[in-house]
């Protein structure tokens, strides 16, 4: 699964990437991580507050550090 983390490289963005990756790996889903730090790309993706997360191009969260439970809920 392609995981896109939007953020200027702050500590919270780093944590966000770790949490999402951890949940996916625990489920045995291969992860392809992409970090987007360009503001224009963030704006085009509709991210107004960082960190933002998209799974396979679908924006699922913005402006917060997601919890494990939240990541689970995105996966359904």
């Amino acid at each position: 699964m392609k995981v896109t983390v939007y953020g200027p490289g702050c500590a919270r963005c780093q944590k966000t990437a770790e949490v999402v990756q951890q949940v996916l790996v625990a489920r045995g889903i291969p992860v392809e991580l992409e970090k987007v730090t360009d503001y224009a790309a963030m704006a085009v993706a509709g991210v107004m507050a960082t960190p933002g997360v998209a799974l396979d191009g679908r924006l699922v969260s913005t402006g917060k550090l997601p919890t494990v439970a939240e990541v689970e809920s995105w996966l359904g």
Partner: protein
């Protein structure tokens, strides 16, 4: 921890039970702080008549007071902010005209979660959804300047009147500066890539948030904010305590008093490179006020430190051409100076 204490309850009832317990407790402890600080100072064999005793009392009283206020207010604001995601605020502001839009934008700036690190994506997100440039600026000025940490510290150290003044004037500066920028019609001074961004990009689906999730967000907000600012509060209050106890009265009158006309612009200029958060600067400023600094000058200094920061300008430079940045800084600085002079004249 909560689960163990109230095993028979569902999560929401657990939260409500904990709050029903904690709120009266908070209230009671808060009422005892002055007596406790007095007791502590005399237990050390000191009196408030000595410099050291006075400084210690200031520290023992103000530190727990400000920290308790921060805990309470930051939690409440964390819960309130769950009702105002940036997407929601953007939808409320989209298509609003100058005037009404500026008032609304400045007010929403208080309750919408904001971090200067996402100032640029937010700025572009607003513009691309049809929020006018001037309205967007009102939001961008109000959001960092009128924040709960600054208001808590002002309330705790100066009283509610000064906190209310700061709130009102902060909103006024944000509204007026946004109106002025809107009327200058500076859309051409956005960076080219900003002007080209397509309207109506993807957006996060509206999710139903439960009250448990809102309370949890509040608790997380406390951990993040209070966890970050408490060293600043301690350092600020310690420095303030030193000033209280040792710096002679009227020491500041000559440089920050109301007779020194140049002190207001100097305070604003000095505030730009300073980018401590409100938590560190306000206790120091409060102590200076007791030493003959004028309230208008002090308010101007605080607003400048918080609203006009060099790092934020550098971030915004990515999206704004130099002339628009300069206009933004100039208009906000002008508004803050006006506030300073009006205060020094009136009070």
């Amino acid at each position: 921890m909560l689960a163990r204490r109230f095993p028979a309850l569902n999560p929401l009832h657990r939260w409500l039970a904990a709050l029903a317990l904690l709120i009266p407790l908070w209230w009671f402890v808060y009422g005892q702080l002055d007596a406790a600080a007095n007791g502590l100072v005399s237990a050390l064999g000191l009196t408030r008549q000595t410099h050291f005793g006075e400084a210690l009392h200031f520290f023992f009283y103000d530190t727990p007071k400000v920290l308790m206020l921060l805990f309470g207010v930051v939690f409440v604001m964390g819960v309130v902010q769950t009702f105002f995601a940036p997407e929601r605020t953007r939808a409320l502001l989209s298509g609003k005209r100058l005037g009404v839009g500026n008032v609304l934008a400045a007010s929403l700036g208080i309750v919408t979660p904001f971090c200067s690190c996402s100032a640029v994506p937010l700025f572009i997100g607003f513009l691309s959804a049809g929020v006018p440039l001037g309205v967007t600026f009102s939001f961008l000025i109000s959001a960092p300047m009128v924040n709960e940490v600054a208001l808590v510290l002002l309330f705790g150290l100066f009283g509610w009147q000064v906190a209310a003044l700061y709130l009102g004037l902060g909103l006024a500066v944000a509204i007026i500066a946004g109106l002025v920028i809107g009327h200058l019609k500076m859309e051409a001074h956005l960076e080219d890539w900003v002007q080209q961004i397509a309207r109506g990009a993807a957006h996060v689906p509206d999710e139903q948030i439960s009250w448990v999730a809102r309370f949890e967000t509040g608790a997380r907000h406390v951990r993040e904010i209070v966890g970050k600012v408490w060293p600043w509060v301690l350092a600020g209050i310690a420095l303030g305590a030193g000033i209280h106890g040792y710096v002679p009265e009227d020491f500041m009158a000559a440089i920050m008093g109301r007779d020194a006309w140049w002190s207001v612009p100097a305070a604003v200029l000095l505030g730009v490179p300073l980018y401590t958060n409100a938590a560190g600067i306000i206790p120091v400023v409060q102590a200076l006020l007791g030493k003959g600094a004028a309230l208008g000058t002090v308010l101007a200094f605080m607003m400048s430190v918080i609203a006009l920061s060099a790092p934020e300008m550098i971030i915004l430079r990515r999206a704004l051409k130099p002339r628009l940045i300069a206009t933004f800084a100039g208009v906000v600085a002008g508004g803050i100076m006006l506030v300073g002079y009006v205060f020094n004249l009136v009070l």
